[in-house]
Amino acid sequence: MAVSNKPLVWGPFAAGGTLTAFLAPALILLMLLAALGHTPDLLAYDRLHAFMGHWLAKLAVAGTVFLALWSAAHRLRITCYDLGIRADTVVATIVYAGALAGTGAAVLYLTRI
């Protein structure tokens, strides 16, 4: 019997889709406020650096980055197929590798904080 890797790629997609549905609009709005010059208190260097210094915050951010990037990558893969790009193995390799690379970078930067 062929072993399917479908649950392995689909699980983080569903988890990431749910997590971003709950968190992304509020987080993007916070950064938009900063972009418009109304910087929320938490984004001041001292406060954010202290907040991100806690291991629990690091763990939460790393997990969120992984799930958000993975679900975006999975959706991008399906979208490429929908748009007529049928080299699925190549597309899948690129997008999932990109998600893992982004997560790796986030973990590296988190350890430096």
Partner: protein
Amino acid sequence: MAEKVNHKPYARAVTSEWIFRHPRYVRYMVREFSCLFIGGWTLLMVWGLKQLAAGPDAWAAFLELLRSPASIVFHVLALAFAAYHSVTWFNLTPKALPLQRGEAFVPDAAIAGAHFGVWAALSLAMLYLAGAF
């Protein structure tokens, strides 16, 4: 004289023009394109982590980058696409998580509504705790 028979299997041309055949397909594609904005914004935040780790000056430079017109346009679009992702995702929750109570199923509106309620409360709490208002 017998006509030549083509034995090659019919290969349908792969195109993407089907998207515009029905408004429903356009909405589907808009939903799927939200991944570019959510993924792109997440990568921007990873860059922000790098700047935060590099010290106060690097972080100030990151905030300055956020204030550029391109960043403001990107954030407005990203916010709209992210909200569209949330709405479509929560509207599908009754299909993904049907709940049965005794003989009857919990109404779709109750399941989706609970998700929308949690989303609103969570968003307000995050904005408040981050000091947005």
